[in-house]
């Protein structure tokens, strides 16, 4: 059985899913790609919007979609450093 993902890893998986979909993605895709329940995904999306890591785009043709902000791109760049820090200081 795989170990429970940390918040850092879940956020990374969501942002990575958005990045792989050319930085624009529908909520259902986020749910599948990041392996989250609907409830959990809603909670994470709300938090990521508040933290300005993603932004919501309301396109009448595509419905509700999400894209990465500059801060979100920076998060992905910094992810390995953050994981390294947390690993070394036992913050899991």
């Amino acid at each position: 059985m795989s170990k429970k993902r940390s918040r850092l890893e879940v956020i990374h998986d969501i942002l990575e899913a958005i990045k792989r979909k050319n930085k624009i993605i529908k909520p259902t895709h986020i749910m599948y790609k990041s392996n989250l329940s609907h409830k959990m995904m809603q909670s994470y999306l709300k938090e990521l919007l508040e933290k300005d890591l993603i932004k919501e785009i309301n396109d009448s043709g595509k419905g509700k979609t999400f894209s990465l902000t500059q801060k979100g791109i920076e998060y992905l760049d910094q992810y390995k450093k953050m994981i390294g820090f947390m690993d070394s200081f036992g913050l899991y």
Partner: protein, 220 residues
């Protein structure tokens, strides 16, 4: 670090340099932890950041007092703080050191316990602070208590290393072991300057290792 007897100026110079270095290193660790907390919301990062913030405040205060001792500024500080007695200033300095360092270590221990209970945290804190305040020899009790906490933290990092065998985890484990050995040396330093110097040297190596780890992590 705590010292009762007047120390030679070269020791004060060395102490001042090392305390400023410790304050900066621990503050850098604190800032990095808060940065991770801000991005991820990981509670452990926040607690770790607070632990290092308290430790950093302790070293900033200590370096300020060492600076005052080095440049014989105690009288000026006393009049500025409206303190009559010079010994009171030393006492305030010692208590602030004990207070912030112990809070820092307890916050670190609380983080490793993986529990969400502010009551537990306050209880551990209250027991520790009260046992120091009401003991006849506060400094000894403080060092013994800090050593116990550091033994526990070192054990946690030993477990962390066995789970995740990397250079970074090994560096952190060795750093906390050096902090523990340094702290044990400080127990004997109250009457012996040699132990004081050894304790400081061990502490210096510990923080250098933490700095090295921070460098390795952030250069990726």
């Amino acid at each position: 670090m705590v010292h009762f007897n007047p120390l030679p100026s070269w020791i004060l110079n060395y102490t001042l340099f090392s305390e400023i270095a410790f304050a900066i290193i621990t503050f850098a660790v604190c800032l990095y932890s808060f940065k991770i907390y801000k991005l991820s919301g990981e509670k452990k990062s926040q607690l770790f950041g607070f632990a290092f913030l308290f430790i950093s405040i302790n070293y900033f205060l200590q370096s300020f007092l060492t600076l005052a001792a080095l440049f014989k500024l105690e009288q000026n500080i006393c009049s500025l703080m409206k303190i009559q007695d010079l010994q009171m200033l030393t006492l305030y300095g010692i208590y602030s050191h004990l207070f912030f360092f112990i809070i820092g270590l307890i916050t670190l221990v609380y983080m490793t316990l993986n529990i969400k209970s502010i009551k537990t945290y306050i209880l551990i804190l209250a027991i520790s602070i009260v046992s120091i305040l009401f003991s006849s020899n506060k400094i000894y009790i403080y060092y013994v208590l800090a050593s116990i906490l550091l033994i526990y933290i070192s054990f946690y990092y030993l477990m962390n290393y066995t789970k995740n065998k990397q250079i970074k985890t090994l560096l952190v484990l060795i750093a906390f072991l050096f902090l523990l050995f340094g702290n044990i040396h400080f127990i004997f330093s109250i009457n012996h300057q040699v132990y004081y110097l050894i304790g400081h040297f061990l502490e210096f190596i510990a923080y250098l290792l933490i700095l090295l780890n921070l460098f390795l992590v952030s250069r990726k």
